[in-house]
Symmetry: C2
Subunit: 219 residues, 2 copies
DNA sequence: CAACAATATGACAACTGATTCACCTTTCCG
DNA sequence: CGGAAAGGTGAATCAGTTGTCATATTGTTG
């Protein structure tokens, strides 16, 4: 149990390595999907550790053994899940910011969309954050993928002169951190501040900084 | 196992409810402290779930049973630990920003100090973040305490005219999120960007925003 | 429709790890 | 010194989990 885990230790396993065997019929595909969905719900509610395979299969309406027809174990289904959910958020966010004028507006839309998404899919937060402690690489992969896309957009914006020059990599991590915490606090814990106000506050930070306008100069 | 856990379910248990019994001699106090320290190391390295009571007591150099002389169980020692560690970071950060000129400078110092602290005490991140899924209230307590102090400072700064007026509560969560992610990425995962540069990047964001200077107006 | 492959079942073996408890050792103090 | 309280021990208990397997069902194809 000292190894960093990895049933199929093929180094560059790019995508769905689907463990034991990918489904070969439509029925199989459907069952696999049901189990995956059940895992999302179960992990989302009980958390990874409290959730048993039993809970997942019960929620999916299949027998325990069926689980192992499609997944090598609990850890593998988590990996699969995070990959899936990652694709979904990114797709959602990308769709929400197509055609906006500039980066600042994209940030506003993106933040609001993220808050909304998290509110509608609370499992995302839990599954993702908990995955971090099951296998750090799953988590890093998610944020690094997310970050790459983000970085590209900031670089574009810098080139177009929409934002100040600066270390965009660092900015990306700062921005992801902000969204994450704002989402946790205001979309998951307590919806006591309207998303509009949150977005406005952050937008003001992006447009003017925290300092009084023009008061401070770059030292 | 459905309840949200709580050995001693006294509602307003403010502080060290020290479970079974607080130590009554110096020897006892020492042993308790050794166990707490061992728990920090063990949770920090293996994580909460992989760490067994056995691992903790072995690291502390005591027998299994001794653990239960001072703590009601695994969950309680985690609670205690987070409380302790919380006090320590806050004290450290507070000490690092005494006597700085204004809020912007305090933010710079604070961020650097946080990165440094995290680098020197990597367990903090893991213990804290994992606690979230063991008992959310432990985690919320930590950030809410942290946030309260932060909010007070921002309110002061607003009053003194050091920063723009705005929703400081929301800002606090945004700022905590930033530090958290920057710490994870640049202090724990990979030290490939000097702290100075990170601080400079964020400082620039605070002083000027992301937008080109003076280009954008409040809509 | 016979025969074979893919799916599905669920009882259970094997194991892990938290907590208990009956008993021993050290310390303290009148 | 005596004995009571505090501290310490670790084998045994006990609850819960994962993953396996022999068997049954369903679907497919020549």
């Amino acid at each position: 149990m000292t190894t960093t885990a990895n049933a199929k230790s093929v180094p560059g396993s790019t995508s769905s390595d689907a463990g034991p065997g990918a489904p070969k019929t439509a029925r199989g595909a459907r069952t696999r999907a049901r189990i995956l969905q059940a895992a999302e719900d179960t992990f989302g509610t009980l958390g990874y550790h409290r959730a048993g395979i039993t809970d997942i299969t019960r929620a999916a309406g299949v027998a325990q053994g069926t689980f192992y027809t499609y997944f090598a174990g609990k850890e593998e289904i988590l990996r699969e899940l995070v990959r899936d959910m990652g694709h979904q958020v990114r797709a959602y966010l990308a769709a929400e910011i197509v055609g906006v004028g500039d980066r600042l507006q994209a940030e506003e839309r993106g933040l609001r969309a993220f808050l909304q998404y998290l509110f509608e899919h609370p499992s995302l937060y839990r599954v993702l954050q908990e995955a971090q402690f099951v296998d750090e690489s799953i988590y890093r992969e998610y944020y690094e993928a997310f970050g790459r896309g983000y970085l590209r957009m900031l670089a574009d914006a810098t080139r177009k002169g929409e934002i100040r020059a600066g270390n965009n990599e660092v900015r990306v991590w700062a921005l992801m951190g902000m969204s994450n915490f704002l989402g946790l606090r205001y979309a998951l814990w307590e919806r006591d501040v309207p998303f509009d106000e949150i977005v406005a506050t952050i937008s003001d930070l992006f447009r003017h900084g925290l300092a009084l306008d023009g008061k401070e100069k770059t030292q």
